[in-house]
Symmetry: C2
Subunit: 452 residues, 2 copies
């Protein structure tokens, strides 16, 4: 075991390929369906929204997808990211476990999102696309895409949920610094937004409405496409740079993982960390337990159903076979905005059904307590999303303290919490609520599932 | 010339010694004086405020001060920091200059301040000090000290200028996450604060008042000392880890610097970057131009006088020979809070008088424009303080474009701007003011200088 605290890799070690797990699955995932015909959708159905190369990646069964040189060149600004042994946290907990975290908060926008924003902007620019539209909640994804678009001279237009636009202006400002146009959603500039404003001028908006607006704007113009920050296969594939680097770094520490823990909202961070390790597990080279952590307020793996559902609230997307709470499920307002999604990546949902990883759900107070504890020991303040993973890591490390097991635990701190200090302050003031999610509420929203 | 974008160093390359430039100066700097006796102050005068080891470092003429193992162990959490070739900025400017920046924004609190906060907390803990007090403006220093104190089990009490406490709560919350107690200053818990509140219950506070409160609280308790985030010799010495690493990294790029640019408020970032290069220059091994950038609203080098003055507004500190605008100078409210100090490090002031570096002043609009331009090219958003250095780097790179010179320019981005997005938003909205500083205002405040 190497006695280092951080393993840094030279930029020559940035992965040259993304790992596409579809190549190695024993059973292929069910295809997306056209909501009208119920037939599998084809590339032509997606062409108004995505460039050809991303559509090809979405359905590819090649295991290795080359990272273009121009994308590598931007990755060099912050990749490879460090893998850190959390020695000070181990000491504070008094655990015999050895804890490692991959830290993605040093990226330009402060999270793992640029890992996919950069290739998405690149492939669009290559195809001559002049403008990308997207939606964003608290702004992690919007700021990552705004940065990426600035690198390739593509205009970026973001619909930001009005509640966040008004109350959390900082990531909105970051998008503007990068040159993006930011609309409060619902906005008067789209038909979908205008209709909602006409009915309710004070609508606080929702991610579902913002998606509808961004999709509508992309569909309406030939030179414009749409970009999504999670859920889709190609997004998960791009994020595997996290796990590929971590594999190499953990080996440099001389370690083999016993447990891999990641937070999961749409699934891109969890998949990005775990897929390369799943490949090694499928090949029989390692045998870690892999565990997703989701918020108790939006428990798609642990309390949702596995069924065809819409990806958005308005029902504009293809039908996706996934773990879902129903597309009109509105999660309680927990601070981990990135985990408040009614569904889950279809690819991850399929792999979960195959029994290849497990999942647990956590209330937000436990997560903020864990995030603050982590910060005091390690310095880095985790965003509310990765604090879910940190909470499970701490719980496991304390179980190891009881049992005496020297487990090797790996996680990812996928973003820093410097944009989330209001939430931490609320936690420290004792004013943070945990939400109860009665089974009836889930069952009621599941009635919104399209008939199968 | 190495074609890399970032040079990372292994943690074994964290400097084992801080560089104390006092060892190499042709003339020693004038001593601090007791304000009553006008005699040079001795260690006993400082013992109520600082631990013995820091007092020893303050007056040391040893060139190499060893970094204790326990401090190295905390530095490992984020050091060495990367040195980055700003290739994308060079391309955007069309300059033949080669631009390198040392990036300190990846530290736990997001700036270079932990480089000195950690050893200060350590030496206090070693001497049995149980509590550290300090003041903070926008909170960079307070959050760094709060983090450092958490590492060594020292309580941390911060007086934060009320205007920032109310309007910029995020770094206040970060201090609380690290376990610090944060008072809005003026506060009722000190005599100095209570007196001001009695006269003006709505006082917005000032850095001068906050210093008075922190010093009073430290003086009043045997187990309590005071910590300062800039200005003093030992603080500048601790920051030389920046320049020592940059020396090694620039050599790994195969480069020799022609120009080194740093922003200067109290001086710790500028000194930390430039002192190791000054050592090499004094030894005749390199010959770069070294340039400090200060705000036009607080131009201590370029428009101040070199005289004995108080370090604080209330006149409680020893008299320091330094560049000053007078201790009752109140800078206009520019956003670079870390550069709003009426004086300048006495050590840097002395070296400036020796002609060893030059200085320029910049208005804040030019700096925010440069910060946004830098972010669009490089991803990293500089805080308002380093955006002053970035503005000068861009100006020089554009001069190189005219002249065709392939200058090698080195700077430091000493903190990220994720806490400063409100200011960037104001800039982007066209609502940011530049301030005019009439000569009469400087002359009026210079009448506050103590008679010599």
């Amino acid at each position: 075991m190497h006695e280092a605290t951080r393993i840094l890799l030279d930029e020559s070690r940035i992965p040259r390929h993304w790992y596409n797990i579809a190549a190695d699955l024993p059973v292929p995932p069910p295809p997306p369906l056209h909501p009208g015909t119920r037939e599998p959708i084809g590339p032509d159905d997606l062409a108004p929204l995505f460039p050809a190369e991303l559509i090809a990646q979405e359905v590819s069964t090649e295991g290795r997808i080359p990272v273009p040189d121009a994308v590598l060149d931007v990755y060099r600004l912050w990749r490879p990211t460090p893998l850190v042994r959390a020695r000070r946290l181990e000491r504070a907990l008094g655990t015999p476990a050895r804890i490692y975290y991959k830290y993605e908060g040093g990226s330009p926008s402060g999270s793992h999102k640029p890992n996919t924003a950069v290739p998405q902007a690149y492939y669009n620019a290559q195809q001559g696309v002049r403008r990308l539209t997207t939606e964003t909640g608290a702004g992690q994804w919007g700021s990552a895409l705004a940065f990426a678009c600035a690198q390739f001279g593509v205009a970026c237009e973001v619909w930001m949920v009005r509640a966040s636009y008004d109350q959390k202006p900082h990531r909105r400002s970051l998008m503007r610094v990068y040159g993006a146009t930011v609309h409060a959603s619902p906005s008067p500039v789209t038909g979908a937004g205008g209709k909602i404003l006409a009915a309710d001028p004070d609508s606080p908006g929702s991610l579902g409405i913002a998606i509808s607006e961004a999709v509508e704007a992309a569909s309406a113009a030939d030179d414009t496409r749409y970009a999504l920050g999670s859920v889709l296969n190609h997004v998960l594939t791009h994020q595997t740079v996290i796990g590929e680097e971590a594999l190499e770094q953990l080996a440099a520490f001389g370690e083999t993982p016993d447990l891999i823990v990641g937070c999961a909202g749409g699934g891109s961070n969890f998949a990005g960390l775990s897929f390369p390790f799943l490949r090694e597990k499928l090949a029989g080279r390692i045998d870690p337990v892999i565990r997703a952590v989701e918020p108790a307020a939006c428990p798609t793996f642990t309390r949702g159903v596995y069924a065809y559902d819409f990806g958005d609230t308005a029902g504009l997307t293809p039908l996706l076979k996934m773990h879902t709470l129903g597309h009109d499920f509105v999660p309680d307002p927990i601070h981990a905005g990135g985990l408040r999604y009614h569904g889950m990546s279809p690819l991850l949902s399929h792999i979960y059904e195959l029994g290849m990883f497990e999942a647990v759900a956590k209330g937000q107070r436990e997560c903020f307590a864990a995030g603050a504890r982590f910060a005091r020991a390690e310095g880095v303040l985790p965003a509310p999303e990765p604090s879910h993973a940190v909470a499970e890591v701490i719980a496991e490390a304390l179980r190891c303290k009881e049992s005496g097991e020297e487990k090797v635990i790996l996680t990812a701190v996928c973003g820093h919490g410097h944009f989330d200090l209001g939430a931490y302050d609320q936690y420290l003031s004792g004013e943070m609520a945990d939400f109860d999610l009665p089974q009836e509420r889930i069952e009621a929203s599941l009635t919104s599932l399209p008939a199968s």
